[in-house]
Amino acid sequence: MWSNFLSASIFYLIALVSIIFALLSVTLKNMFHSALALIVMLLGVAAVYIYLDAEFLALVQVLIYVGAIMTLVIFAIMLTAEIYNKNIKRHNQQKLVSLVIASSMAGFLIFVLSRFKAQDGISFFEPLTLAMIGKELLTKYVLPFELISVILLAALVGSAAISKPR
């Protein structure tokens, strides 16, 4: 009983931290700080995956999103952005309209979703292990698995070709 309450309150704390750092990531003027805030948000999302019994996904999230994608984004920021000039505007003139639109969409979705009643999450009868994920990836979902390899190869070759200096 106490452990249920403790884990639930830690979930709400992690969710609040994710939301706060996502807000920081879209509003900070320094591009590098914005990328670092996004890293914290991605780690918070990985913790939410662990709450949803998806431990492999949490690992993949930390390795790929934080480890690879954000490293690449920080490289790009260092190569292109002018992060030391404090006078440059970071947000365009659509701030007010998009704030209204985004907050009204969030309010509407929260209103609809709070009436959504589903059964409580039954912890699985047998655990969904990494071996099962691997087996399904290679038997039932083998076509998307091969296609994602082709996509990643195309992205690799394409990005190297695009950013090659002439």
């Binding site: 994608i69 790009a76 505007k89 365009n92 999450g121």
Partner: protein, 102 residues
Amino acid sequence: MIPLSHYLILSAILFSIGLYGVFTRRSAVGILLSLEIMLNAVNINFVAFAKFMAPHSLAGQIFVIFTIGVAAASTVVGLAIIVAIYRNYKTIFVDEIDVMKW
């Protein structure tokens, strides 16, 4: 313990925050970062539904693996394009790159 609607509300809030970032950011890398927030919100949605509605099936989690892969590929190509644009126009602010309208 934690009902499904709370996960969905977290996903909706993160999606709206990412949407606000995509609308208002001037820098192209900033737009890509906000797009990542939106994609993560969608992934939380997938995994939450997979756990509550179909706890015996792995389809939600495997779909999220592919979503993460496709997001990685798109971010990589986007960043390559941004680097190429910066090399040519010396700016990455999207309201200054308007050469298509003469």
